[in-house]
């Protein structure tokens, strides 16, 4: 199949998989899966296979933002609300 991409290659690519997001953000897989299922992390899905692809820069920024909101003491519904009501520029592509 394919070899695992090195960190340099991952950090230079536009799209990353959820496994690669785990590597670059240090978040747990279950956490990222939960965020994805709750529509907190936008992704693209190719039709022929069901692999989810995330835009690296926007997604990493968004994860850091969610982490910060959590540190500020916000609950998940509140964080979702903040993400939805934030201006488009801050929110990134949906």
């Amino acid at each position: 199949m394919s070899r695992q991409r090195t960190m340099d290659v991952i950090l230079a690519s536009e799209y990353v998989s959820i496994g690669e997001l785990v590597r670059i953000t240090g978040c747990r897989y279950s956490t990222l899966k939960f965020y994805t299922e709750e529509n907190m992390l936008p992704f693209e899905q190719a039709e022929q296979n069901l692999t989810r692809r995330y835009r690296r820069e926007e997604t990493v920024k968004r994860i850091q933002w969610i982490k910060k909101l959590k540190e500020d003491g916000l609950s998940i519904p509140q964080i979702k609300n903040v993400l939805q009501t934030a201006p488009k520029k801050e929110r990134g592509p949906d």
Partner: protein, 330 residues
């Protein structure tokens, strides 16, 4: 997360919480799989696209490879040099996993050194080393502890790749096989996840040529794996409240959950007992905080909370001291 080789990644999982000074049966299981991971690493790095059923060790230059690779490849050198054709993958993995205890120790040392140089693994004292029997016999008890964020990143990446739909990398295919052979599957996956993993691995067997070549191979040794599973089961059982009570009376059943620290004098009061416990913990380099004083103090040692229950044990003469029992529920 750092870019680690397959052997280094697997070793961070395999060596974590293992006794760093002695070759225990459980560690032997881990080391056999680490030796196999070296072969897989060589296979992945030198793959020419001709299929995965053979490993051509004849073209590998020893001076260029890592020290831990040499520890495994050197004993196989005669096979490598004399072979007129590449060895089969099964043959290679079996020979690597059948290395002698001395060779396995050499492999452990070289891998641990390579990880230590990157601050990915350290040696920490085990609480059992403070026990009367270990302390008075002068038997040190140290264990490996992997760097926690890096350890989590490795295991979570494997989980993300196998539990998510989509392609699986060669490293993850190998890592799953190594986890299966070392009997670590149930440590990382829940029962629900295990079902998904089984289905995915079955799918990989039919779709992925590497998985097709690798997954039918078995290097595990029944007796060693049985010992590992039994000790694991025993430890889990004695973490339950009822079994913990039995373990207090018969500590020989599970010593790691019932550590006895002797006090200097007979009939010492609670303050002196606590002082003796603190001195012993300090001597062996544990970090601790006394959460509650009194007749049965509560002490947090290396992030686990213990009750220090006064007790006397009887041999030729009675020995007074305290027994450190994990506070339940954890």
């Amino acid at each position: 997360m750092k870019d680690l080789k397959l052997t280094q990644s697997f070793s961070m999982i395999a060596l974590n919480a293992q006794n760093s000074l002695y070759l225990t049966t459980v560690k032997k299981v881990a080391l056999r799989c680490m030796a196999a991971s070296v072969i897989l690493e060589v296979l992945l790095d030198n793959h020419t696209g001709k299929g995965w059923n053979t490993v051509d060790l004849r073209n590998i230059a020893f001076p260029d490879s890592e020290e831990y690779c040499q520890a495994v490849l050197e004993p196989m050198q005669h096979k490598k040099v004399n072979a007129s054709r590449p060895l089969s993958l099964k043959q290679c993995l079996k020979s690597a996993s059948a290395l002698s205890g001395k060779r396995l120790k050499k492999l452990e040392k070289s891998v641990a050194d390579s990880l230590r140089s990157q601050d990915l693994i350290e040696e920490i004292p085990n609480l059992l080393g403070c026990d009367l029997y270990f302390d008075s016999a002068g038997v040190p008890y140290m264990e490996y502890r992997s760097n926690i964020p890096e350890y989590a990143a490795i295991t979570e990446t494997v989980k993300a790749e196998i539990l998510e739909n989509g392609p699986v990398t060669d490293e993850t295919v190998c890592m799953l096989w190594l986890l299966r052979e070392s009997g670590c599957f149930s440590d990382f996956f829940s029962l629900n996840d295990l079902e998904t993993v089984a289905v995915r691995m079955n799918g990989l067997y039919y779709q992925n040529p590497l998985a097709k070549a690798l997954y039918p191979i078995r290097i595990r040794r029944g007796a060693e794996l049985a010992v590992k599973q039994f000790l694991h089961w025993k430890k889990r059982i004695f973490k339950r409240p009822f079994a913990a009570g039995i373990n207090f009376v018969y500590p020989v059943l599970e010593r790691s959950q019932s550590v006895f620290i002797d006090t200097e004098a007979w009939f010492s009061n609670s303050d002196k007992r606590l002082e003796d416990v603190k001195n012993r913990l300090k001597l062996y380099g544990h970090t601790f905080t006394v959460l509650q004083t009194g007749a049965v103090p509560i002490i947090k040692i290396d992030n686990l909370v213990y009750k220090a229950v006064p007790q006397a044990i009887y041999g030729r003469v009675p020995i007074h001291g305290v027994r450190l029992m994990p506070r339940l529920p954890f």
